[in-house]
């Protein structure tokens, strides 16, 4: 028996819609196997991962958990929406983690350096600086790609480590809080520099989640309804046809990197001005990398990315509750996310190909016949 992939004449709309769900299902199965191998009851483990953080839906006493979900989902959605534009235009920005950190650093400039400036303008300026910082940092791989034809996967990824170490140096060095007992981290931001909570009565979710939803809708509209979105998709799918259309691939490289950098930067500054309230050395729990999974699980569609962001945020929360309840290592979260990306990419094959199982006996028979005929000739 052999399994063949046969190209479909048209891509399958059914599997376009189904493939993320198939991937999720396969991830659950693989996750259950992983937990059994770890000696845990897989049903319990999956319960703590995927149901327990959602109990707030029906239990008002646990409503704070939904807020935590929104806090985790906000940066994932913001970054992944930007990445969808990159990936659709065939620009492989892997460095959103770095753009997130630089956005946070640049946006923190005002509250750290001018802590006494108390004005309503501080917060909008911080958000703007965060976006500019992220965009400027993303412009580096874009520039190298356009100018020297370097591979943006490598340059953007390497710049992540530069950003991490730069931030580390700042919060341990010149920006360290003198009253912070030598812990790395800046001073706590003034209340003028804190992103307000959306609904403080029931939990601490901040405006970052609203930014994420707005960004998703705006980028969805741009991609599906405007010429700019068309340009992005044409150059991504068929660069030569894009040039024939008169689109400039260099400009789109910059557009995609600057947009995704700005959104990652906004996510970064929203994170430090929101739940963390100061800049420290571990502001990201790998949001920039997890957002890559979010982008693909959301089928590179910003509206799908909202749902995908919530699912990945769930794995972070579920990881914590599983660690507390049944003692699963927090590394299991990364394994989960990795499996999800693996299955998502694998299932996407079904959109353009169908699987045919060719029975070995039939093929063998045919070859035998063919052989006989040749001998006959």
């Amino acid at each position: 028996m052999r399994i063949e992939l046969v190209r479909r004449p048209q891509h399958s709309a059914l599997f376009s819609a189904l493939s993320p769900f198939i991937a999720l299902g396969l991830t659950l199965v693989a996750g259950a196997i992983m937990f059994s191998l770890l000696g845990k009851n897989p049903v319990d483990a999956l319960y703590y991962y995927f149901i327990d953080p959602l109990t707030g839906i029906w239990d008002p006493g646990n409503r704070w958990q939904l807020h935590e979900l929104a806090i985790k989902a906000a940066p994932l959605i913001l970054i992944a929406v930007g990445l969808s534009v990159c990936y659709l235009s065939n620009n492989w920005n892997i460095g959103a983690e770095g753009q997130f950190i630089i956005g946070a650093v640049v946006g923190s400039f005002i509250p750290v350096v001018f802590p006494g400036w108390h004005s309503w303008i501080v917060l909008p300026l911080m958000l703007l600086l965060g976006m500019l910082g992220g965009a400027a940092y993303a412009a580096i791989p874009a520039f190298f790609k356009v100018k020297f034809n370097t591979n943006e996967i490598l340059t953007s990824l390497m710049l992540v480590y530069v950003a991490q170490l730069f931030n580390d140096w700042l919060v341990r060095g010149i920006w360290r809080n003198p009253e912070g007992m030598s812990f790395p981290g800046t001073i706590r931001f003034s209340e003028w520099a804190i992103l307000p909570q959306v609904w403080p009565e029931s939990g601490r979710a901040h405006w970052g989640f609203v930014f994420a939803l707005v960004a998703a809708v705006v980028v969805w509209f741009m991609l599906s309804k405007t010429l700019k979105g068309f340009e992005v998709k044409v150059l991504g799918q068929s660069p030569r046809a894009g040039r024939f259309a008169g689109f400039s691939s260099g400009k789109v490289v910059f557009f995609a990197f600057l947009l995704s950098g700005a959104l990652a930067g906004l996510a970064g500054i929203s994170e430090v001005a929101g739940p963390i309230e100061h800049l420290n050395e571990k502001i990201s729990i790998g949001y920039g990398f997890t957002a890559i999974i979010v982008a693909f699980l959301g089928r590179l569609n910003p509206l799908g990315i909202v749902a995908a962001g919530i699912i990945l945020a769930l794995t972070y929360l579920g990881g914590e509750s599983a660690q507390i309840a049944i003692g699963v290592s927090d590394k299991a979260v990364r394994a989960f996310q990795g499996m999800l990306l693996f299955f998502v990419l694998a299932c996407d094959t079904l959109i353009h190909y169908r699987v045919r199982i060719a029975g070995a006996p039939a093929a063998k028979a045919a070859e035998t016949k063919a052989g006989e005929a040749t001998q006959g000739a």
């Binding site: 405007t226 010429l227 040039r243 024939f244 259309a245 008169g246 016949k369 040749t374 000739a377």
Partner: protein, 521 residues
Amino acid sequence: MSVDTTGGNLLEVRGLTKIFGTLKACDGVDLTIRKGEIHALLGENGAGKSTLVKMLFGSLEPHSGEIRWNGKPVTISSPSVAKKLGIGMVFQHFSLFEALSAAENIALSLADQTPISTIAAKAQALSYSYGLPLDPYSVVGDLSVGERQRIEIIRCLLQTPELVILDEPTSVLTPQEADKLFETLERLRVEGKSILYISHRLEEVKRMCDAATVMRHGKVVAHCDPRQETAASLARMMVGSEVHAVVRAPVEGVERAEALLEIRNLNRKPATPFSVPLRNISLNVRAGEVIGIAGVAGNGQGEFFEAISGEATQPDAGTIRIRGKDAGRLSITGRRLLGAAFVPEERLGHGAAPRMKLSENLLLSRYATDSKAFLGPAGFVKESTIDAATQRIIKDMDVRKSARDPEAAALSGGNLQKFIIGRELDRQPTVMVVNQPTWGVDAGAAAKIRQSLIELARSGSAVLVISQDLDELFEISDAIAVMHNGALSQPLSRTEATLEKIGLLMGGAEPGHVDHGLETA
């Protein structure tokens, strides 16, 4: 041997049927190919020729029906089975790896571990003996369509097949090259090999083929002896009705008409180490006329097209003038806005984005020129207007398709070409530049495309057609210039241009010194 009781029939096909969804692409097809016979397979695009051939070559599995090879029933489950039987195929759309050399591509299709140098030597010997010169170490990506076809043919012949299937083989050859190919085929016939020859060039079929099978809408409509038929009667069988011959009314006063496209001393350095430099090309195309550019594949036609279209811009703005305005430094969009329209050689991936719908592919080349109709504020795409325009073009050009607005890659080559040409004609361009308008397009569609280009010129536009199909150029052009090694000859008016003169220029007689070229001949 006892097997051979079939009276020399190499291949017999009985009742072969293939169904895609609800479409019967092949419906009970019968075909008999005798040993040592050149058998023509005729039919319009979408008639089911490709489907039939793919079943014979094992790329598609038939639903029902029987294939007998030397009288024995066989199941051809894959191309490797077909090759073992002795069936070789030269595809219309080449299956070559662009990053590999010709010899490496040939090596990939051979099962054994023959060293590349041996293959290269064999391929070179074979290529020269069959009159299809080829450098086995050249990288496919740098070769023209015509040269790529040679690799396919050589690759097929290296496997010494009993039956060679050729899909539209002469569409990229000069008349001299085509003659060489016919000699090759003749030699194969004498050697006792059989050939299944798919072509829409009826004169060719009449001249060479011993038998013909005509298909229409998935069914065989006739088995005939092409030598007993006329081109018109063959065309009638294919199309089911009369093919309207292209009508080209002579134009008067063109010399006095305004030159809408002017090219002045166009030079271009080679963009890659293997592409052809353009050498001092000058040409005027006036309102009302069709100028044809003949030439063997790979003599700079692609580079020339890119330079005119603005995909490659020139440092000197006066090099290209469109409607009297300097356009040399303008991008393709700027040139379109001056009234020019372009149709490149490659349909999929250049003229159209394969995985995008036809309506999106309409927007591809017309978002700038029709921005008022197609775009709203902030670049909002007006889908309903674009959809209406798409359906209008589909109707005008008789594009046949399986869905209302299918992906470009789902259309057959001819139908996609009709759409791409129609997309540009629909905006009534002042200057139209087309590279290979009817490559691999069936007779009915080709006639439609040619007629529409002539009509566009007669309505006052300037039309420039680059083609390797000389019959086509003689059918539609008011004057023909020849491109050789990046230089362009003076255009010869239709009264001066003969097949012989053009053929000599294609072979490299000094451009601009036509008379000298003829003397030495």
